[in-house]
C-alpha cells in the first residue's frame, strides 16, 4: 500500500535537477495538452514523448512496472467499456443482443484511453524525480501557506508509518483468533472495528505527540520563517520552462487561432 509513496529515487538526471516548480508546471501543461489534442495520432506521439521522458528518469524497472501496471489496466478498461456506452455513428461493426458496437465509438474509446494514459503517466515523471520535500517546498514557494505545506509534508511522511501500525494491529488481532475475511458481511464489518479503533487511537496519540514536538521546536514562533535550502531558478530551468510552455502554446495556437484540426 505504500508503493505509491516511495516512487521517488535519488538519481543524477536533468529531470531530477530541474526546479520542482518547473516540473509541476510542465506536468499541468502537458495534462492540459492531452485534453486539447483530439487526433489519435498526435495523442500517441504525446504518449510516446511522455514515455521517453519516463525512460530518461532512469527509474528502476520495478518501479516503472508498478506505476504503469495501473495505467495500462485503466486504459484497457476504457477501451473495452467505451463502445458499450457510446453507440452513435456508423458503420456498426457487430451487435451483441441490443448492443451495437460502432467503428467511431471504438476509435473514441481508444483515443480516450490514450488521453488518460498521457494524463496519468506524466504525473509519474514528477513523482519519480521529485522528493516529497521538494514538492512541498515548491508549493510553498508558489504561495501555499507554510503551515498548509507542513501539514501536507507531514501527512506524506506519516502514511508509511500508519501502514506499519495498521499491519501490526492486524497481526495483534489475528493472534487473538480474529479472521478478517470470514463470516457474513455484518460479522466482517464488526471484525473490522477491532482494527479500526486501535488504528484511530494510535493515530490520535501520534498526532498529539507530534503537536507537542513541533511546539517544543519553536514552531510558529515567528510568522516569517527562513529556509535552510532555498530553491532558485537557474538558466537550465528557464530553458526548460520555455520549452514546456511552447509545447502547450504552439498546438493551442494552431487549434484555437488558426483552426487546424489536431
Amino acid at each position: 500500500m505504500t508503493g505509491f509513496l516511495d516512487l521517488y529515487s535519488e538519481k543524477d538526471t536533468f529531470l531530477h535537477h530541474l526546479d520542482p516548480r518547473v516540473k509541476l508546471l510542465a506536468v499541468v501543461l502537458i495534462s492540459v495538452l492531452a485534453f486539447i489534442l483530439t487526433d489519435i495520432l498526435y495523442l500517441v506521439i504525446l504518449l510516446a514523448f511522455i514515455l521517453l521522458l519516463l525512460v530518461l528518469t532512469r527509474s528502476s524497472y520495478g518501479k516503472a512496472f508498478f506505476a504503469l501496471k495501473y495505467v495500462v489496466r485503466f486504459m484497457i478498461l476504457i477501451t473495452l467499456l467505451w463502445p458499450l456506452f457510446d453507440r452513435s455513428g456508423v458503420p456498426v461493426l457487430f451487435s451483441i443482443g441490443p448492443l451495437d458496437i460502432t467503428e467511431p465509438a471504438v476509435w473514441r474509446g481508444v483515443t480516450s484511453a490514450v488521453r488518460v494514459g498521457c494524463f496519468a503517466t506524466v504525473w509519474y515523471i514528477l513523482m519519480f524525480t521529485t522528493s516529497q520535500r521538494d514538492l512541498v517546498r515548491a508549493l510553498v514557494k508558489l504561495g501555499l501557506r507554510f503551515d498548509y505545506g507542513l501539514a501536507l509534508a507531514i501527512s506524506f511522511r506519516f502514511i508509511p508509518t500508519f501502514g506499519l501500525t495498521l499491519e501490526s494491529i492486524k497481526d495483534a488481532q489475528r493472534a487473538r483468533a480474529l479472521e478478517l475475511d470470514k463470516g457474513s458481511i455484518l460479522r466482517r464489518s464488526r471484525n473490522y472495528v477491532s482494527v479500526l479503533v486501535p488504528t484511530i487511537v494510535s493515530a490520535l496519540r501520534t498526532a498529539d505527540t507530534l503537536a507537542l514536538t513541533l511546539q517544543s521546536r519553536a514552531y510558529g514562533a515567528v510568522s516569517n520563517r527562513t529556509y535552510l535550502r532555498e530553491i532558485h531558478m537557474r538558466r537550465s530551468d528557464y530553458i526548460a520552462l520555455t520549452v514546456v510552455v511552447m509545447i502547450l502554446l504552439l498546438p493551442a495556437l494552431a487549434k484555437y487561432v488558426y483552426g487546424v484540426q489536431i
Binding site: 495483534a172 493472534a175 487473538r176 483468533a177 479472521e179 486501535p198 487511537v201
Partner: protein, 283 residues
C-alpha cells in the same frame, strides 16, 4: 553455538527446523534457526535490536511463514493451519497493548479472543472470569481499557491472550514502560502461569527478568541462535553477550568483576552474590 542434547521432537510443543525468513525488502531476518521448546519451559529469547527475536516469535503462531525450513506446533506442520487455528495453542501478546485494545469494557476485551475461537457462551464466560481474576483486573472489569494506565492496559492485553487458554504464551517485551512495581507484579503472574504448566516464551532486552525467571535462554544475533543454555551458562560468556549487544544483569556483572577475589562468576540474584561473599568471609 552450544547445542542442546536433541530433545525429542515429539515432546516439543514447538519445533522449528532450520527456519529461514527473508522480508520482502530483502533483509534476511532469520538465517536458519533450529529450536525445540518443551512443554512447561520458561524460555527467554534475548538479543539486540534487529537480531531476529520478534521475527522468530512470529513464526511460532503463524503470523509469519518461513521462507525455508519448517515449524511444527504439537508435532503437526503449522503451514497447513491458519493463524486463528494456531492462536488456540500459541498465544501472542504484542509489545504495544494499544495495538490490541478496542472494546468498551475490560470484560468485553478479554472475551474477544475466546469468542473468536467459537466457544459457547458459558465457556467464554468461565475463561474470561478466570483470566480477569488471574491478572488482578477485577476492579477495572467494567472500565474502558483505553483510558486505563499502561500497566493495566498491558495486563488486559495479556489477559485477553490468556483467556484463550493457549499452551504456549509468547510475551513480547512485556515490561517496557512499566515502573518497577508494575513490572514485578506482572512477572509474578507470568511465573504463576508457568508454574501451572503453561509454556512461556519471553522476548526481552531486560536481563534481570531473564535471570530471575527463565530456565532457558536463547541468545540471538544476526538472525541466528548463538547460544542456547540455562541462564547461568548464558551469562558466563561476556564476550559472546557483548557480541550480541547484550549485558548480563548488574549483579552478574559485579560477580564477574569480583572474580579475581574468588567469587563465582555465575551469580544470578543479589542473594546468591551475598551468599558467595559471606562464604568467602568465613574462616
Amino acid at each position: 553455538m552450544i547445542p542442546r542434547p536433541d530433545a525429542g521432537v515429539e515432546d516439543a510443543v514447538l519445533f522449528l527446523r532450520d527456519v529461514k525468513f527473508t522480508y520482502e525488502s530483502g533483509v534476511d531476518a532469520l538465517r536458519g534457526v533450529t529450536l525445540a521448546v518443551d512443554k512447561g519451559e520458561y524460555l527467554a529469547i534475548v538479543g539486540g535490536n534487529g537480531s531476529g527475536k520478534t521475527t522468530l516469535a512470529k513464526h511460532m503462531n503463524g503470523l509469519l511463514r518461513p521462507t525455508g525450513g519448517q515449524v511444527l506446533v504439537n508435532g503437526a506442520q503449522s503451514s497447513t493451519r491458519t493463524v486463528a487455528e494456531l492462536a488456540r495453542v500459541v498465544g501472542y501478546a504484542f509489545q504495544n497493548p494499544d495495538h490490541q485494545l478496542f472494546c468498551r469494557t475490560t470484560q468485553d476485551e478479554v472475551s474477544f479472543g475466546p469468542t473468536n475461537t467459537g466457544l459457547d457462551e458459558q465457556e467464554v464466560r468461565r475463561r474470561t472470569d478466570r483470566a480477569i481474576e488471574l491478572m488482578g483486573l477485577s476492579e477495572v472489569r467494567t472500565r474502558p481499557p483505553l483510558s486505563l494506565t499502561l500497566g493495566f492496559r498491558r495486563k488486559i492485553s495479556i489477559a485477553s491472550v490468556i483467556a484463550m487458554e493457549p499452551q504456549v504464551l509468547i510475551l513480547d517485551e512485556p515490561t517496557t514502560g512499566l515502573d518497577a512495581r508494575e513490572a514485578d507484579e506482572l512477572m509474578a503472574i507470568v511465573q504463576r502461569l508457568n508454574d501451572e504448566g503453561r509454556t512461556v516464551v519471553l522476548i526481552t532486552h531486560e536481563m534481570k527478568l531473564v535471570a530471575e525467571h527463565a530456565n532457558r535462554v536463547v541468545v540471538m544475533a544476526d538472525g541466528r541462535v548463538v547460544l542456547d543454555s540455562d541462564a547461568r551458562g548464558a551469562f558466563s560468556d561476556l564476550e559472546l553477550l557483548r557480541h550480541s549487544k547484550l549485558l548480563p544483569p548488574p549483579v552478574t556483572q559485579l560477580a564477574h568483576k569480583l572474580a579475581q577475589i574468588g567469587v563465582s562468576r555465575d551469580a544470578l540474584t543479589p542473594q546468591e552474590l551475598v551468599f558467595e561473599l559471606m562464604r568467602g568471609e568465613e574462616p
